[in-house]
Symmetry: C2
Subunit: 225 residues, 2 copies
């Protein structure tokens, strides 16, 4: 089954990492794995654009079926290999609802992290403002406080007592924040969650190969009320 699957991915990208974790969790090994380089702009190469007109990674296919959106790939793998590996979608309606809520809330989390991390990349020199940088840091501090609170309410996992698709989807964003210097003392529940999950086999096995040196862009975040 996995041998019919192909994944194009880039190192360190949370959306790519999600799919790699999901494949591990579903015991789908031996798929065709192609690591491409963002630095060399290989995600904008013809071979990617032919499959994914957005020119983004991950790009996944299973036989003739192409799925380019990371969360959609994860749901596809769970739906089609429900009884293989770990079940990722809770059957209890309330847990399932919470899980999907957190999956979709990965959007503002990823976006607010990106607003800080990619600021210089997004805005050319003449358009950059200290006031905007501050506003973005405030927004990401508030967003991370919200996730800190979620973990207090439901932990140890994002949708309760069991590892689920919410963790597959959101963990790479949380890990990304720590890679960019997030302070564990300021966000103790997030740090606890990070430390718990980084030892999980599916996550250890797929850890981004380029994450040796930490960065410090998120080290100092403004106080939130």
């Amino acid at each position: 089954m996995a041998k019919d699957m192909t994944l194009y991915w880039g190192a360190g990208s949370p959306p790519c990492w999600r799919v790699m974790i999901a494949l591990e969790e579903k015991d789908l090994r031996g798929y065709n794995s192609h690591q491409l380089s963002f630095e060399k702009m290989e995600h904008k190469s013809k071979r990617v654009l032919d499959i994914n007109p957005r020119g983004q990674l991950p790009t996944f296919h299973d036989g003739q079926l192409v799925i380019n959106e990371s969360c959609a790939v994860c749901i596809y793998l769970e739906s089609n290999f429900k009884k293989q590996g770990n079940e990722l979608i809770p059957t209890c309606p309330n847990e399932q609802a919470l899980m999907y809520q957190r999956v979709f809330e990965a959007v503002p989390l990823g976006q607010k992290l990106g607003d800080v991390i990619y600021y210089e990349w997004k805005f050319p020199e003449g358009e950059r403002h200290e006031s905007a940088k501050e506003r973005n840091k405030n927004a990401v501090a508030l967003e991370l406080s919200l996730w800190e609170r979620y973990l207090k309410q439901t932990g140890p996992f994002l949708a309760g007592k069991t590892f689920s698709l919410a963790d597959v989807v959101v963990f790479p964003n949380i890990a990304y924040a720590f890679y960019y210097g997030l302070c564990p003392e300021r966000f103790p529940k997030l740090a606890q969650y990070y430390n718990l999950l980084k030892e999980r086999p599916s996550i250890k096995k797929t850890w981004p190969p380029n994450w040796e040196v930490k960065k410090d862009l998120l080290k100092e975040l403004p106080k939130t009320s």
Copy 2:
């Protein structure tokens, strides 16, 4: 069943509209509907913040269960009332995968529309740049061309021959673009889709009450190659 459900919503908001369409499609009528005013900042009122710490609409609850993210509410309604009203998630794995892909692609669509529509609201006066406005208009033109192509490939609906959750989620964004002046001649497939779906009972019944006068922010979009 629906009498245990409560929806707080704001007029014209695509995420709120999604949930209202899904409730109609699932024959869930008679729920407690509370229209709040964005202008009066009622989405930041204590009664919303107590349920939804993001201070955003929609906010939905079914008995004690609170779900605040619009797509998660739609999936919850479909999962829990599968055999009631119209089935919104295709059972064919390939159609289902395409459907989820389009659901998650509503994110960049909504974001790029928002970058143009809310530009002045997002950036204070000293931070606004004509170059950024142009870049945003280019991005939304490219994004809409992609959806035009999707409809050419799969139409009449977004995941193929049948109305699905992809349409529930994405139609409000497409309608929003036309409300903001999108040119039907430039995007004929999107216009055809818009005209087909606006006659659908679930959509007619929930049409935003404040959309009499059209706006023209998206009337002139740059050419894309």
